[in-house]
Amino acid sequence: MNAVEIRNLSKNFGAKQALKGLNMTVPQGAIYGFIGENGSGKSTTEKIICGLIHESGGSVKLFGRPHTDGDLRAKVGVLIESPGCYPNYSVWNNMKLQAANLGIKNADAEIVKTLKMVRMEGAAGNKYKNCSLGMKQRVGIAMALLGNPTLLVLDEPINGLDADGMRIMREVLVDLAQNHGVTVVVSSHVLSELEKVATHYGIVRGGKMLCEMTAEELEASCRTYTALQTREMSRTKMLLGCKYSRVEEDEAGYIRVYDMVPAEEIVTYLYEHGILVSEIKTDKIGLEEYYIDLMKEGR
């Protein structure tokens, strides 16, 4: 059974069509990286999943049931845009409210456990408004985790998190998915972080799903390249450009050859033209580059 199954979803805000027949399938227990440009429809889709806004057309099913089914709602944890907390209440009081909202019996113990998960147990007494942006995000995640959710919908959860916060976040998500079978739908612009945890991806553009794939499929789709440096970079680039079909210079100052050729062949070719290679390595493009390429292709 899929945790989320969306078919032909559309949403209009007045004359503006935010979603245009979007399809989405999130298998149970997956960490689904939901990727797209600003305004592509990620947040709108997530809000519809959470029941905060109504779809104009199409269907949304969560665990085989209509997403409007009240019974499964208590098992959906959310962090959409920013945590929904009362600024003048302490972190603890905000958590208490959410616990009461969910009807959690042993609330105090549950709150302590959840705050520990996001390393916020020491800041429980702080007023929410006095928390830093990163701390607020952690509180939001803790609130989403209350009540042992079956589905977590997180919109930009690592916004404002420092390196340590991101690491904690990764650990929490992986633990929830692998050890507790929680399904996570997470959107983020920090693709390098998403790549470390996601098992599935959905790339959305202009209100439509461009493609969905597993992490393995992405791995297979990501092209291998050979990156090298010489003392005569511009001449090297020109020479390689004459011999191979796709040669580019990256931001780190390496020349990349995307053709599937052995590194030895490139070294020998350049040596024959009087150029010594100072550094050479083979690598694969990551999610970020794959995504950028995909976006370029679409334009």
């Binding site: 809000k47 905060l52 959906v76 959310v78 208490k96 507790h180």
Partner: protein
């Protein structure tokens, strides 16, 4: 691939759902200074009314005629006065409903302003739970304001030496009637806040506007002191006066409950059809 688990979704009963919602709302009510501030305001209103009534006019040096010689007139008029000839006559326990409207607007408005509704409506799909809970908690808060208003009136009456002569039965019926009307008023304000949920200022202004009963006062100017006005919240609130009896209480109960149901149904409809956040 991650492991999957056997899923089981509970179907919480209405009682359990509403208990959770009420738990949240009462927790918020008792943990917000605003509630206590409004209780204090309600207690101070009668003191201000009685204190300023009969004061010396600073320009003429003459004492103005006392508006209230009987303490209980601060609670309610002697007879139902739908049309008031002087603004002072308007000042009685019905003012609680005006201030109560502002309090309810702030109380509910903060749900949207802080974004807390995201948590609320994600976990609670049933919108009528929200309407019922907000209405009941707001009504409770307004009843609280009625109580502090009553205490404030007695203290003010004692300090100014105003008369306490009254028919106890009618007084109790009047107070009870007004407290019952809190439910209807609370449902109106909850509904208005649902309608104007994205506009905090407008929801406060609209609550104040309807709370003054200006529309019914306008209608009364045409219809006169007609009992037909009792079908409206303001009409029944006025009807609960110092000549009230059990029929008055019953009228207030019917009016309050009927409007509460109407506004709750309308509010639920709006929330179910519109985007909540």
């Amino acid at each position: 691939m991650a492991s999957t688990r056997q899923l089981r979704f509970e179907s919480p009963s209405f009682a359990k759902r509403i208990k959770g919602m009420l738990g949240v709302d009462f927790y918020r009510l008792f943990h917000t200074p605003m509630f206590y501030i409004f209780l204090l305001i309600a207690a101070l209103i009668p003191a201000m009314i009685l204190g300023t009534s009969g004061m010396e006019d600073p320009q003429t040096g003459m004492a103005t005629p006392a508006l209230y010689t009987n303490t209980w007139n601060i609670i309610a008029a002697d007879t139902p006065l739908y049309v008031v000839s002087e603004i002072g006559e308007y000042a009685n326990m019905n003012m609680v409903f005006i201030f109560g409207g502002i309090m309810v607007s702030i109380f509910i408005g903060h749900d949207y302003k802080s974004g807390y509704v995201k948590q609320l409506f994600t976990t609670h799909a049933k919108k009528q739970d929200y309407m019922i809970s907000k209405t009941l908690v707001s009504a409770f808060a307004m009843v609280g304001m009625c109580v502090t208003y009553l205490i404030g009136s007695i203290v003010a009456g004692l300090l100014t030496g105003a008369s306490f002569d009254v028919s106890i039965g009618s007084l109790l019926c009047a107070i009870l009637g007004k407290m019952i009307m809190s439910l209807g008023w609370a449902s109106l304000y909850t509904f208005l806040n649902v309608i104007f949920r994205r506009y905090f200022g407008i929801s406060i202004a609209s609550s104040f506007f309807f709370g003054t009963g200006i529309l019914i006062i306008g209608a009364a100017a045409i219809l006169g002191n007609s009992s037909i006005l009792n079908i409206f919240l303001y009409g029944s609130s006025v009807y609960a006066c110092l000549s009230a009896n059990l029929l008055t209480v019953l009228t207030c109960l019917v009016c309050s409950v009927v409007w509460a149901v109407v506004y709750n149904v309308l509010g639920t409809f709006v929330l179910s059809r519109c985007d909540v956040y």
